[in-house]
Symmetry: C2
Subunit: 201 residues, 2 copies
């Protein structure tokens, strides 16, 4: 069945790639919960998919936020935030924190998320997220609808049970969520590991 | 079985989140094939996972590239590139184009990829990728090991058979590849669509 489908597609696309409207079409993207605020009354969470790694050494990532979002001023003022990677069981909270504003609701309470202390910054991390990445903002680049916050990673916390007996982090077991064109997905089948295409048998 | 596993994890993590080394830990990320070069003798492909959307309006994305990579000078000189989203059947080519250099091999030939004309820029796109995003570089930000190229999306092409009879782009059918901590994955189960957490039944 799958083979048949692929065959059909192959025939069509060779001569049939359609022009689509220019827009944000880079996927899959991470669906992450950004925690922000350095004092309890200001703690907030915002879901972001406009996020990515931008440098290996030093480790840096970027998140893009609309200036009208409640979290925008909090992050801009404190120059720090935490990127919390949620697992598939948290998909509903991920969606909720993206469509509701911290001006009107306390997302920690509604989503039953617990703030725990970070190691290197004042912003708390989300306890139930398997990975939390503590970040300090280095640059803010206004681009249009969004400002891009480029930040350095200053600390990482992971679920202890993701680390195997050899000390390897098994991130594939965290069942992280990706965002593809308006929908959330769990990871599927492993296709290969880095370098597998040139490995000798 | 899955329930049992989750229960076990829940018990452990409440009090047991481990400090890990600071590093690039934001996942899942897209695994994409960047095509570059404006004349056939210079055409090259490089696999990038340090890529993300940075602005909705105008539509902008970023890719980060090490200055020592063969594609770096090509992109810097031409100020344009195409982000091609590969489907799972192309995983081996995705890996290969990330570990081999265009200085030594012609990746188009080795991976049997065909360059076809783009709409708005001189850089060709990869025919067999279900989505190709034409980009013009707006800013180059040196960060350390990588320079971040911030670019505006000027055109998008998609496989015609991903567009259904109502004109909706069914990107979930493209079976795009994500990169998680050293491995490539196909998309898995749909968890929900944007806004589903607040929809009335």
């Amino acid at each position: 069945m799958i083979k048949k489908k692929q065959k059909k597609r192959k025939k069509q696309i060779s001569f049939n790639k359609t022009h689509w409207q220019a827009g944000t079409m880079l996927y899959p993207l991470p669906a992450v919960l950004i925690s922000c605020g350095t004092e309890p009354s200001k703690y907030n969470i915002i879901t972001i998919s406009w996020a990515g790694t931008v440098c290996t050494d030093p480790a840096m990532l970027s998140i893009s936020v609309r200036p009208e979002r409640h979290s925008y001023e909090i992050i801009k003022k404190n120059k720090e935030f935490v990127v919390n990677l949620p697992s598939r069981s948290m998909a509903k909270a991920v969606d909720y924190c993206g469509v509701r504003s911290g001006r009107n609701v306390n997302k920690w309470d509604v989503c039953k998320l617990k703030a725990i202390e970070s190691q290197h910054i004042k912003t708390p991390q989300i306890e139930s997220c398997p990975v939390s990445i503590e970040c300090k903002v280095k640059q803010i680049i206004p681009l249009g609808s969004h400002d891009c916050f480029i930040a350095e990673v200053v600390g990482v916390s992971v679920f202890s049970d993701l680390i195997n007996s050899k000390g390897r982090l098994q991130l594939e077991k965290a069942e992280l969520i990706s965002y593809i064109h308006g929908a959330y997905f769990a990871p599927g089948k492993l296709l290969g590991t880095f370098g597998y295409s040139v490995k000798k048998n």
